[in-house]
Amino acid sequence: MNPAFSVVLFTTIAGAAQGLVVALALATLGGIDMAPAFVARGLEIAGVMLMIGLLASFGHLGRKERAWRAVLMWRTSWLSRECLVLPAFIAWVALWWLMLQSAPVGMFVPVVALALAASLWLCTAMIYACLRFIEEWAQPLTLVNFVLIGLSSGFVLVSALAASAGEGELLRLTAPVAIAATIAALVARVASLRRNAALRHRSTLQSATGIRSPHLVQKSMGMSAGAFNTREFFHGRTLALLKIVRQTFLICGFVVPALLALVAMLTAASVWWWLAVVSQSVGLLAERWFFFAQAQHPQNLYYQVVS
């Protein structure tokens, strides 16, 4: 597939915002002592990130003015479900922020926030995992990766915020979780990379055309030149570049943030957490780009020769 930057940005930034809200919700439920103003600041940041994600997702639409229609088919479409859950999640984060202004919140608000964050991960991941013939995506690890990567980036971010704001009690909780989630995300991502490397696609040129000959080559894709099909489904990058992107996201997205988090825990300086946030932002954008680029759409079997 040809990765669309709008979708790469949306899924990455929204995933991190979900992780941030989950961290704040768990800390609230766990009775961690936090300044209400700190929680409110965290929710503001999550809200802004989600709004950026929402705006970015509009960038993927050909007819943005009709976007409201996308909520209608929630019975059958994961995309439609995502379009319902995302605004609901943003609204709930806003409500939580508003309630913090007057009184301490109870259990109900963070529990619902957790449920909405989880639903949004489910919807976003299933948009890809439900396409059975895009075999790189159609696997349970797609959901696992979306959740773990969101948790990892959210906990690294909340640790950076806590370290800067001097929320020591919160940081003692989130720092080890951030490292554990980052390592878990790395393990799951490597597992999905290994699975995809060993993948043998079910569709072949023979099954796509029904021509049984083992020696079958495409000579022309139709004298109708360039088209949506030759752009949307091909990233046009070399294998060497893909390899570089893969190494980049494994190192910058997981290994470096985990090491920086460890250093931050030992030195108790917040700058290490912010370096981890910067490294992970670059790494995870590369990770999501690679997620799309690696997917081989079976329609590409019909467009092997551009002529």
Binding site: C83, L131, I211, K219, G226
Partner: protein, 241 residues
């Protein structure tokens, strides 16, 4: 005013035409094409007649950018590709027209977030309501055949309509109530009809000549089928061939 009202209610009275297939439904009628790979010569008459009819019909206009330049690009509902099978000198050149297969279980329909993509209950044609499409491209991702194309100018998803604005038009002579590609094919490589009617030309061709579906592994049950090449023996090879 009265005419407009009449149209409005007239459209409502035609409800069966707009009734939609739901996942799991089995339809009594399914219009489709059968393509005979024995006789397709790769002339692209079906491609050009399709573009001509549909760019000026209810599915148009179809984008056509830089048509005489170095990198032309545009929307087509039907494309003819060419494959070579076997090893020289025993090679076969196979011209392979491909358009939407109007699957009996179309994966592109349930994923549409707006309901713009639908399959008609009355004749099984898969269509896009261009007024509802938001151009999210998700249906194109969900089609293993690459049958859907986003129109660059209108920014909505387009696809083969099986010339729905032609095949039911009673103002046309009965022999003209066929898709433009079928009418244009000089070798008769394209057959059109109801694949659910066992006595139709298409059903007989599929049954008697080993019609097959593309990518059967994904269980989309394409309605369009292809007739495989038959080996034609030379004169005198075998008396009973």
């Amino acid at each position: 005013m009265m005419g407009w009202l009449k149209d409005l209610f007239g459209a409502a009275a035609h409800a069966p035409e707009t009734e939609r297939w739901e996942p799991g439904d089995t339809l009594a009628k399914q219009l489709a094409l059968v393509i005979d790979l024995n006789v397709c010569v790769g002339c692209h008459a079906c491609v050009t007649s399709c573009k001509e009819w549909n760019t000026s019909g209810s599915a148009g206009a179809l984008a056509d950018r830089d048509p005489y330049g170095a990198n032309p690009t545009g929307t087509f509902f039907n494309r003819v590709q060419t494959y070579e099978a076997g090893i020289f000198p025993g090679t076969d050149t196979i011209h392979f027209p491909k358009s939407c297969l109007h699957c009996e279980d179309p994966p592109c329909v349930p994923v549409c977030p707006t309901g713009a993509s639908y399959k008609r209950k009355s004749d099984g044609i898969v269509l896009v309501d261009y007024d509802k499409c938001i151009g999210c491209k998700y249906c194109a991702w969900a089609c293993p055949y690459g049958a859907r194309e986003l129109d660059e100018e209108r920014q909505v998803m387009t696809k083969c309509t099986l010339c729905v604005d032609r095949v039911h038009d009673e103002q046309l002579a009965p022999e003209d109530r066929k898709p433009a590609c079928v009418k244009a094919c000089p070798t008769g490589a394209r057959l059109f009809g109801d694949v659910k009617d066992p006595t139709s030309e298409v059903s007989i061709a599929i049954r008697e000549r080993g019609g097959y579906a593309l990518m059967p592994e994904w269980e989309t049950r394409p309605s369009n089928q292809y007739l495989p090449r038959r080996v034609t023996k030379a004169l005198g090879d075998e008396a009973d061939s």
